[in-house]
Subunit: 361 residues, 2 copies
């Protein structure tokens, strides 16, 4: 009888962080594609755009004027999804009609952070030094927001590329701070907490050790340095999904700060972000779209030593070319996420991509 | 102090079926949109397309020729995500290296079902009689596949529109049958089972009663008939997401069959599908894209009387116009689904849409 082959046969893999499964159908990569193709948005941009509300010196929607900033610049989102000045939600008797209509009020703050004054650059083309500035601004905002007593979680994320719903190419990320701990981090906290109780060790410490040290072949590692590894997780959903994980047990950006050692950890993080984003652009020689986000300890004043471990997720939608993405639709929404190429195949491709940006060759 | 207002203030709502939260930021509908716009695909199609692999009489990828079918037509997917003829997956010692690398083999079968021989029609424009034929074909395939001992779940779903990853406009759905019970139905089964244990009643029976009878104002009902209701669930994620739920406790399509009463239940289902899909097209006077799927009892030979209740989910991506969709990206992928308009606002709009298709006016 033929042996089961992970590159040929359908199987599902378990995500221990979110406690859920993903279906992997590797033979589907052979399927021709006649469906929708994205339009490539490769109009060349100027370094400064007088119409851009993120460029230095320009005026934003509510009339505020941006300073002539030189590295990063942080301001309050003019169309915030959560606000701090809203009435408290008091459960009303009419809402109690049934436990099936459960609601919570959500207060919070939404910030926008520009990565650079240059309108026409992306993280992939920024220097490690410039990325280091971004990391230091992330750390600053995490510290600042964590002092506000009503804020319990800080989600830093970047939507890159118009197909990821990003409405302005000026390099920027968002920071949504809420009194509630949102769904995804909650799932991870629960899983990590359970894992710690059962194994007396940290899930992501163990997983990182497994991938970087214990396994003889290292099929999912994309690149690494002394402090961080970038890999395609065994349970990845998106075609070229990766995670950056700190090798030591670090629970938030604050743990990276250490002026005494010349901020080695922060620099190593800048280094690995630089390398993976550059590799991404080189996969199809295009500006590679993705949503990226940082998961770290909540700021709810509880002890998160055992259920948090700093990591970044990259979710890029492209599958075969700059115009052909993976659709997570019918079966994925109704039944189970399904992927075509294996995480090992994706890692292989990324590993072999140059760390010199294609535009700089 | 001002009172909390669900149409102004941010809140999150709990989905008791999947046991998860969604963030609702109703004031965000006021935000201008300058980002990506979809291209409208309104080239008019012929009733028969010689290049289409789903049209009657044409030849498919692997050489099979379609019959001159008159209503529906079912065949095996030529690029199936799961197959029945693959080696059994035997857990190998090297996989046991860690509980962090969990895998299962997944065997199954994937079918495609054409709704109509006409290349240029969609469900929204089909007659109730034609939709009745579709329902009867769904029932036939559910019955047929449920006799195969290695199949435990049957997922029927339709991706409509190129922005939902549909690669052929010919009206069709897919049926993926697997030995595993996928992620989403599993979550629902667990929630419904727990609810039954705690309340001695069915979650969706109670929810339907609440929305259709108990509430004085019926803010989320879109349309109904004697046997089914179509509503925007209290916890909807997609802008115009709806559910069709059977009013009586029916656990699968098989329960709808009853020749003696002239198949009233099947006809009522055809009626409500006809009405909601027609309303959808009328929202923006365009062919409204969506992913649709049927959740019903697994076919694993267990008793699903208490944890299953037949329902259909519609997940349509459009938000403001035929070209402006809602992006579920950064925050949604990393933290929590976020919606702009409230389910009640969406229901209101859908309720006021005509049930006569705009093209027929
Ligand atoms: O099988 P199709 O219709 O070609 O493919 C479409 O639906 C599948 C099931 O939802 C998805 O996995 C694919 O990404 C999508 O393009
Ligand atoms: O706030 P933005 O960048 O305008 O909006 C984008 O990101 C948000 C957070 O992921 C999403 O809710 C929006 O759908 C998307 O278009």
């Amino acid at each position: 009888m033929k042996k089961f082959n992970f590159e040929e046969n359908s199987h599902r893999r378990f995500n221990p962080l979110t406690n859920s499964w993903v279906l992997c159908s590797p033979h589907r990569t052979k399927r021709p594609w006649e469906g929708h193709k994205e339009v490539i948005d490769d109009e060349s941009l100027a370094e400064y755009d007088p119409e851009c509300y993120l460029c230095p010196g320009n005026t934003r929607a509510q009339g505020d004027k941006n300073p002539q900033y030189e590295n990063t610049f942080i301001f309050n989102n003019d169309f915030a999804a959560v606000k701090n000045d809203q009435p408290e939600y008091l459960e009303q008797s009419k809402d109690k009609i049934s436990s099936l209509l459960r609601v919570e009020g959500v207060r919070g703050e939404c910030k926008v952070m520009c990565f650079s004054p240059k309108h026409n650059i992306t993280v992939a083309e920024m220097s490690e030094d410039a990325i280091l500035c971004v990391i230091q601004s992330w750390t600053k905002i995490y510290r600042e927001m964590s002092t506000k007593s009503y804020i319990n979680y800080i989600q830093i994320f970047e939507n890159k590329g118009s197909i990821m719903g990003c409405s302005n190419p000026h390099p920027h990320c968002q920071v949504w701070c809420t009194e509630t701990i949102p769904e995804e981090p909650t799932k991870e906290l629960i899983s990590m907490n359970n894992y710690y109780k059962n194994n007396n060790s940290c899930l992501l410490c163990d997983y990182t050790q497994l991938e970087t040290i214990k396994l003889k072949y290292k099929p999912r590692i994309v690149c690494e340095n002394n402090s961080f590894v970038c890999l395609t997780p065994f349970w990845a959903v998106w075609p070229y999904e990766t995670m950056i994980i700190s090798k030591s047990h670090i629970i938030s950006l604050l743990d990276l700060e250490n002026d005494d050692d010349g901020n080695i950890l922060q620099k190593d993080l800048a280094n690995i972000i630089h390398r993976i984003t550059c590799k991404y652009d080189n996969v199809f020689e295009c500006s590679f779209p993705y949503s990226m986000g940082i998961h770290q300890a909540p700021v709810d004043n509880k002890d998160h030593t055992n259920d948090s471990h700093l990591h970044l997720h990259f979710y890029p939608p492209l599958l075969r070319s700059p115009t052909i993405k993976k659709f997570l639709v019918g079966y994925e929404l109704l039944a189970e996420p399904q992927r075509d190429l294996t995480p090992e195949q994706a890692a292989d491709r990324l590993r072999n991509c140059s760390e010199i940006h294609y535009k700089q060759k």
